[in-house]
Amino acid sequence: MGTRWRIEFDARHPNSPDQETWKVGIAQSKLEILQKFGHAVNQARILLVRDVLSDTRKIVQGWSRPDTDDCFVYVGGPGYDCRGSTIQVPPPPGMVFLVFVLPDGTIDDWNWRPVKREDATMPEGINGSKIWPQT
């Protein structure tokens, strides 16, 4: 567990994804809210966050929303979904798992998202710059 955040991961660095990693993490305050209000699914899915950051398929810069051009989306396809601390089920079909990261490395959100009809590797509603892989 990290010090800057309560949970910390290594992820491909947006500036040099093939050469470097950087630290990203989930803040204590975020975990406290999820715990306080009993949001078990979102807590259990932190396992998916870990898996997507260690086995990233794509990195996109920009969340396609105002003032988020310097934020990142890590896209992955874990082979399972979590419904609780001990409950794992198959992943929802036709979806990828997204991890939203702020410029300072703070993980802001995570969730499943349907893929685009025209590009099954890209999530719907994410139209930022594909920074990795470049091909």
Binding site: I7, F37, A40, V41, L47, R65, S85, N111, W112, R113
Partner: protein, 122 residues
Amino acid sequence: MATDLKDFLKAQIGDTPFQPYVEISPEADALTFYFKPNADYSQRLTDHVTLYRSIESNELVGCRIKGIRGILDDLPNFLHVDHQGAKLSMVFWSFRGGLDDEDRDTFKQLAEAAGDMPLQMA
């Protein structure tokens, strides 16, 4: 780390029953609202709004609104409330203009789910 994280999450999750909540993140300039605990996926609705829907039933379980700072700053210009007196449903009301009927119904559902929930840090 793998086992550590699983153990950590098991302890973290515990057996606290779900309660609807609002989370305002100043860093992300975003508001997150969940009113049902169902396993969900995200659906982008507009530049500012993402809906959370149940994977099993597709019903609405929550939403996320970006650019919340501007909305909160604007509320007193239209409604005579300060932030402490503001209700979450007012935020959904502010999005009603310019929507088609289906999206307007979605915001109505969100406002109904919000009820009298106050708009404050969780």
